[in-house]
C-alpha cells in the first residue's frame, strides 16, 4: 500500500519533469524528406503597425510562391528582442532569421549570433547598389553578416501655418538661422522646437546628428566642436525655445508636442509621416533638412537589417527568402505598404514610388544621404549611456565644458 503511493508519486514527479522539458523546438529538424522547410523569424514590428503589415504581406506572398516553405514569425517588443536573443544564446535556441535594429547588429555579430554570409552576398552581387551607411552596420572586419532592409534618418518637421503666421518665408539652413527662427516662433507656452532627451537610446539618437554637424564625433567628445554642439542645445533649453521637459520626452512625446501645436518644429523620423497624415489631416506641415553646423548637415541612420543566425540549419533557404525580399519589384511596393524607406539606390530613385514623389518623403531620402550609422563597436550601449547622462547634465544647466570633459574620459576607453 505504502509502496504504491510512493511509486505513483515518483511517477507524477517524472511526468511533471517530462512536461517541463517538452517544449523542445520543432524547428531544429526543420527540413524533412519532402523538402519542406520551416523558417523561423523574430522581429519587433508591433502588431497593427505599418511595418508589421509589410512583414506579414512578404511572408504570405513568399509562401504562395514557394509552397514548400512555411514561416514561423514571432513578434516581441523592441526591448524584449535583445533579451530573448541573449536567452536564446544561452539556451542554444535561436530562430533562423532575425530582423534587427541596425545599431545592435555589430554587438550580436561579435556575440557569435549571426552567420557570416559573405560568400552568398558576393555571389548575389547587388550589395554595391546599397547606401554605404546601412551596409557598414551589417559588416564586421570586412565580412557581411546581414543585409540592410530599410533605412530611416532624422529630419526637421515644421508647422507651415505657424511659419506663415510668424511671417517666416525662408526655411532655416544653418544653426544660427534655425536658432533665430525657433526663437521667433517661441511665444507663451508654444515652443519653437521639440526634441527628445530621454535617458534611453532615443536621447543619444537625437543628439548625435548635432555632434556630427559640428564636425565632432564620439572620439572627440571634449573638442571645441563637440562643446559647441552641446552648448547649442543647452542654450535653446535655457532660452525656453525647447521645453526643459525634453529631458523626459521620447520621440513619440515629441510628436505629441508637434501635433498639439505646442511646438512649431520637431526633430523626428519618417515613421511619423503615416501617423500625421492619417490621424491629424488638418495639420499643415512639411519636412526640411537638419540645419547645417560648422561641418554641414548630417543626420543619423536608423533602420532594420536582415540577418541569418549562425546555428540555423536552413541558411540557404533563409538567404533565398531574404534575397527575394530585396528584389526591386518586391521591395518597392512592399516598402510603400510599410511606410519605410529603401536602403538601395535603384529602388530609392525609382520614380514610380512615393518616396520619389512625395515632397516630405523626398526630404527624408535626401537627408538619408548624409546619415551616419552608429558603428562604434560592441561597447556602444554603454557609451550611449554616458552620452545620455551628458545630455541630461547639460539640459539641467551644468557647465558644458566640464560635462563634455568628464564624459570624454568615460567613453574614450570604451571606443574600439
Amino acid at each position: 500500500m505504502l509502496k504504491k503511493s510512493l511509486w505513483s508519486m515518483l511517477g507524477m514527479i517524472l511526468f511533471v519533469l517530462a512536461a517541463c522539458s517538452g517544449g523542445e523546438d520543432s524547428s531544429q529538424d526543420s527540413e524533412n524528406a519532402n523538402g519542406e522547410v520551416i523558417i523561423e523569424i523574430w522581429d519587433y514590428l508591433a502588431p497593427d503597425s505599418t511595418s508589421a503589415r509589410e512583414q506579414e504581406a512578404l511572408i504570405e506572398q513568399y509562401q504562395e510562391e514557394n509552397p514548400n516553405v512555411t514561416f514561423n514569425r514571432t513578434y516581441m517588443p523592441f526591448a524584449d528582442l535583445k533579451t530573448r536573443l541573449l536567452q536564446g544564446i544561452g539556451a542554444g535556441e535561436l530562430p533562423d532569421i532575425v530582423l534587427i535594429d541596425n545599431p545592435d547588429h555589430q554587438s550580436f555579430i561579435e556575440a557569435g549570433v549571426f552567420a557570416d554570409i559573405t560568400d552568398m552576398v558576393e555571389e548575389w552581387g547587388e550589395i554595391d547598389l546599397y547606401f554605404e551607411g546601412p551596409v557598414a552596420s551589417t559588416m564586421m572586419d570586412g565580412n557581411y553578416y546581414g543585409i540592410p532592409n530599410n533605412s530611416n534618418a532624422l529630419a526637421i518637421y515644421y508647422n507651415k501655418t505657424m511659419f506663415e503666421e510668424a511671417g517666416i518665408e525662408a526655411l532655416p539652413e544653418t544653426w544660427d538661422e534655425f536658432y533665430d527662427v525657433a526663437e521667433q516662433l517661441t511665444e507663451g507656452d508654444i515652443r519653437g522646437f521639440a526634441m527628445a532627451g530621454v535617458k534611453s537610446e532615443e536621447g543619444t539618437f537625437q543628439f548625435l546628428p548635432y555632434l556630427w554637424q559640428a564636425g565632432a564625433d564620439l572620439d572627440s567628445f571634449n573638442s571645441e566642436a563637440a562643446i559647441e554642439a552641446m552648448r547649442h542645445i543647452q542654450e535653446m533649453v535655457q532660452e525656453g525655445i525647447i521645453s526643459s521637459n525634453m529631458i523626459n520626452w521620447d520621440q513619440s512625446d515629441v510628436l505629441v508636442q508637434f501635433h498639439t501645436e505646442k511646438a512649431a518644429m520637431m526633430e523626428n523620423g519618417p515613421w511619423q509621416i503615416p501617423i500625421l497624415e492619417e490621424e491629424f489631416p488638418d495639420l499643415d506641415w512639411g519636412v526640411m533638412l537638419m540645419p547645417a553646423g560648422a561641418d554641414g548637415t548630417a543626420s543619423i541612420l536608423g533602420g532594420e537589417n536582415w540577418a541569418i543566425t549562425a546555428d540555423s540549419e536552413v541558411k540557404e533557404e533563409a538567404w533565398k527568402f531574404i534575397k527575394w525580399t530585396q528584389k526591386p519589384e518586391i521591395m518597392g511596393p512592399m516598402h510603400e505598404l510599410g511606410g519605410r524607406l529603401p536602403s538601395r539606390a535603384d529602388v530609392a530613385n525609382d520614380e514610380q514610388y512615393e518616396w520619389a514623389q512625395d515632397e516630405n518623403m523626398k526630404m527624408f531620402m535626401e537627408q538619408l544621404e548624409t546619415a551616419q550609422p552608429r558603428a562604434y563597436g560592441t561597447n556602444y550601449p554603454e557609451i550611449s549611456n554616458h552620452v545620455q547622462e551628458a545630455i541630461q547634465r547639460a539640459i539641467t544647466g551644468e557647465d558644458v565644458e566640464s560635462v563634455m570633459q568628464s564624459t570624454a574620459e568615460q567613453i574614450t576607453p570604451l571606443l574600439p
Binding site: L2, S5, L6, M9, I13, V16, A79, K82, T83, L86, I89, G90, S107, F108, E110, A111, G112, D189, V198, K199, S200, S243, S244, N245, I247, N248, K262, T378, P381, E382, N385, Q388, E389, Q392, R393, I395, T396
Partner: protein
C-alpha cells in the same frame, strides 16, 4: 525500525514537490547569480561561459559613483516611502475604523490605487508632474505656493521626491487595509479600562494601541521594505533613472548593467548586494519575532 523509516520517508515525499519547486525556481537562480557575479560574463562570451575573475566585478561596481548614488537613492526611497505609507495608512485606518455611512464603500474604493497597474499610475503621475501642463504645478502656482512651475521629474533635486510621492500614493491603501485588519482584532476591554482610568487619546495610542499592534506592524514594515526595495517599474516608466542618475536605484542599475550594457557579471554583483541587504533585514525581523514570542 525499517518500517519506521519507510513511514517517515513517505511523509517526506509529500514535501518533495515543494522542495523541487524551491530548488529550481529559487535556490538555483540565487546560486547561479552569485556564481556569475564572480565571472567575466558579457554578451561576447555568453555562448561559451565566462571566466572566473575573482573579486574584479565587485571592486569595479562598488567603486563606481553610480553604485553609491543608487544605494543612497534606494535607501532614501525605501525609508521615506515606508514611513509615510504607514503613518498615513494608520491615520486612514483609524478613520475607516469608525462607524459611518458608506464605510465599506470607502474602504474598497481606497484599494483602487493599489489595484491600478503601475504602468498606468506611472504615466498618470508623469503627466500630473509635467512642467508645462501638469495639474500639480497648476494648483501650486494658483495657490501662490510657488511662483514658477517646477519641472518635478526633469531636475535632479526633485525627481526622486516626485517618484517617492507617487509610490506613497500607491502604497497607502495596502498598508491601510493591513493596519485596519490588525486594529479590528484588538480587544475592546483594554480600551474601556483605559477610558475608565482617564487616559487621553495620545496616551491610549502610545501605551495600548502601539504595543498591541507591534507584531503586525513589524510584518507590515518588513514586507513593505522588501517590496519597496525592489522598485523598478515606476522608475523605468517615469524617469528611466534620470535626470543624470538622480533616480537610479539598485534594481534599476542592475537591470541597466545586464540588459543595456550586457555586462552580466557586474549586474550579478548588484543583485547579490540587494540579496544581502534584504537577508539582513529579514534576519532582524526573525530575531525580533523570536524575542516577541519569548516574551
Amino acid at each position: 525500525m525499517q518500517g519506521q523509516f519507510r513511514h517517515t520517508f513517505s511523509r517526506y515525499m509529500f514535501f518533495l514537490p515543494a522542495l523541487i519547486f524551491v530548488l529550481i525556481f529559487m535556490i538555483y537562480p540565487i546560486v547561479y547569480n552569485i556564481i556569475v557575479s564572480f565571472q567575466d560574463l558579457t554578451l561576447m562570451n555568453l555562448k561559451t561561459g565566462g571566466q572566473f575573475i575573482g573579486l574584479d566585478n565587485y571592486t569595479n561596481v562598488l567603486g563606481t559613483a553610480t553604485f553609491s548614488v543608487a544605494l543612497k537613492n534606494t535607501v532614501i526611497y525605501t525609508v521615506s516611502c515606508i514611513f509615510f505609507q504607514i503613518v498615513i495608512g494608520y491615520l486612514l485606518a483609524v478613520f475607516l475604523n469608525q462607524d459611518f455611512p458608506f464605510r465599506n464603500f470607502f474602504r474598497s474604493i481606497m484599494l483602487l490605487a493599489w489595484m491600478t497597474p503601475l504602468v498606468i499610475t506611472g504615466s498618470l503621475f508623469t503627466w500630473l508632474f509635467d512642467v508645462d501642463y501638469g495639474v500639480i504645478n497648476y494648483i501650486l502656482t494658483s495657490l501662490h505656493i510657488i511662483s514658477e512651475p517646477v519641472n518635478w521629474l526633469g531636475q535632479q533635486s526633485t525627481a526622486l521626491t516626485a517618484i517617492i510621492i507617487t509610490n506613497i500614493w500607491i502604497g497607502i491603501p495596502f498598508n491601510m487595509i493591513l493596519i485596519l485588519a490588525a486594529m479590528q482584532s484588538l480587544p475592546k476591554d483594554v480600551y474601556e479600562a483605559a477610558t475608565v482610568d482617564g487616559s487621553n487619546k495620545l496616551q491610549t495610542f502610545w501605551h495600548i494601541t502601539l504595543p498591541l499592534l507591534r507584531p503586525q506592524l513589524l510584518v507590515i514594515i518588513v514586507l513593505g521594505i522588501i517590496y519597496t526595495f525592489k522598485v523598478f517599474d515606476l522608475i523605468l516608466i517615469m524617469t528611466g533613472g534620470g535626470p543624470v542618475n538622480a533616480t537610479t536605484v539598485l534594481p534599476f542599475y542592475g537591470y541597466q548593467l545586464a540588459f543595456v550594457n550586457f555586462n552580466f557579471g557586474e549586474s550579478g554583483v548588484v543583485a547579490t548586494v540587494i540579496l544581502c541587504i534584504l537577508l539582513i533585514i529579514a534576519s532582524i525581523y526573525l530575531y525580533m519575532m523570536k524575542k516577541e514570542e519569548v516574551q
